[in-house]
Amino acid sequence: MYPTKLNKIIHLFETLPEDERRETIVSYAENAKKQEPRKDEQFDLVDVRKDEECMDTVGVYLHVDENGKAQIRMTLGPEVQTLTRAMTAILCKGLEGCTPQEILDLPSDFVTRIVGAELVRIRSQTIYYVLTRIKGICSRPTQSKRMRSARCGALRARRPRYPAETTSGVKFCLFRLFSPAQDAAE
């Protein structure tokens, strides 16, 4: 039902008592930085949002390889909450090798099995945030003609890719990503 890697993580959390579960969540959170884009990696879609009110920036970077497998990288602003950091590390690892469609089809019920009832109760929305953002970027390839082509490799040949470390590239991507009119025109 769940991707193998994600299933292993779910199983690990389900076997932990509450205090160890929290420790493991914090440990994942501390490793979230490892999911940032690496030097020279390139992406098909980049979705970086900075929300004025909460001072948090969360960037989601999607690369779909020749076999249609997705690679997700994420960047998190300094104010991003610990639980969100943990879910970032868990999901980037757990969804490695899935196709965008598999990610879109993933039911969200596993999240509660990872974080436990108490955190679900007090942070019911936060825990789904990262999954929602990842699904959001994965929905783009299936929604736009442009990215359907990209998945086959056709568009990559004629369209510049977006180096993760290039700020201007990210801005350009953002414009593309949030421009429905442009998508429709394409």
């Binding site: 929290r22 420790e23 969540i25 914090v26 959170a29 501390e30 929300d51 004025e52 009110e53 909460c54 948090d56 969360v58 909450q81 610990t82 639980l83 943990a86 108490e118 955190l119 007090i122 942070r123 019911s124 929305q125 936060t126 945030y129």
Partner: protein, 288 residues
């Protein structure tokens, strides 16, 4: 209370990071961390600090209200706090939740309260010590408070309405977008659902952050006086009600008005916009 103060009315209500680092092991104090990020304490905290969660520890888990005096006494006892303990609150988000926890402690009549100026972020930015070791203290015996000071420092919806009708100072400390009714919650935050946007008629918009400097410390007394006395029309001797969305940001403003400007008749309407914006028949104004 001076209308043109040169210093805080209660400077003793603040401690600076430098002072706290030198007094971590003082008898008679308890450092209390309270955050929006419920796991932040587990990632590291000020040595000796205990964690009090605003939702799990201070709020009733069934009814939308605070815990009973009995539960408050138990919470303090298990953290080694007595009525004589000076609780020094600090936390993330420029001390929103620290001020909220402090306000809740005051609801139960705990008087010895202080805030770490600049909060967790300033402490961390200055490279001061942090630990992951969970702090434990011998159990104390906190006697059950005889009453909750709801009447003195807390406003309910009907009182906020009366404040509005009487045209007395009513300060909305949410963001301008929330005040105008353009949004009903902060983006990406846990959603406390609200059906209507806008503000309580007659409320003045003064976002909580106006009271802070870049490093999350509080602005000086003359600056605060200008903001709240001159711009918000707050006066000594007149009831003032502050509100936000769930009462945490307004706790920050309540602390500023009560402790830094010395007003003694400020109440926090903790039902705030999540109550008002859902309340059938509640009058609402939109726009600036």
């Amino acid at each position: 209370m001076a209308t043109n103060p040169t210093q805080y009315a209660h400077p003793e209500a603040l401690v600076e990071t430098d002072w706290l680092e030198k007094h971590l092991k003082d008898e008679g104090i308890r450092i209390v961390e309270s955050n929006e990020d419920v796991l932040l304490y587990d990632t590291g905290h000020i040595p000796g600090a205990v964690h009090i969660d605003w939702r799990a520890d201070l709020q009733d888990q069934v009814i939308r209200d605070y815990i009973t005096p009995e539960k408050f006494a138990e919470l303090c006892s298990k953290n080694g706090i007595t009525p004589d303990t000076t609780c020094i609150f600090y936390g993330d988000k420029a001390n929103w939740w620290a001020c909220y926890a402090l306000w809740a402690f005051r609801l139960f009549g705990h008087e010895k309260v202080k805030v770490l100026n600049g909060g967790r972020d300033k402490w961390k930015a200055e490279g001061r010590p942090m630990t992951k070791e969970r702090s434990t203290y011998p159990r104390a015996n906190y006697s059950v408070p005889k009453k909750r000071f709801d009447k003195e420092i807390r406003a309910f919806a009907d009182e906020a309405l009366a404040q509005s009708k009487a045209k007395k100072p009513l300060i909305d400390v949410r963001s301008p977008g929330e005040f105008k009714g353009e949004v009903t919650h902060m983006p990406e935050y846990p959603q406390e659902g609200v059906l209507r946007g806008g503000h309580i008629p007659g409320a003045k918009s003064m976002p909580w952050k106006t009271a802070t400097n870049e490093d999350n410390t509080f602005k000086s007394a003359p600056e605060l006086a200008k903001i709240y006395f001159d711009q918000c029309g707050v006066k000594a001797g007149t009831d003032t009600v502050v509100y936000c969305r769930i009462g945490e940001r307004s706790s920050h403003t309540w602390f500023v008005l009560t402790y830094l400007l010395g007003l003694d008749n400020v109440r926090n309407y903790d039902g705030s916009w999540t109550e008002w914006g859902n309340k059938v028949g509640a009058p609402i104004e939109k726009g600036a």
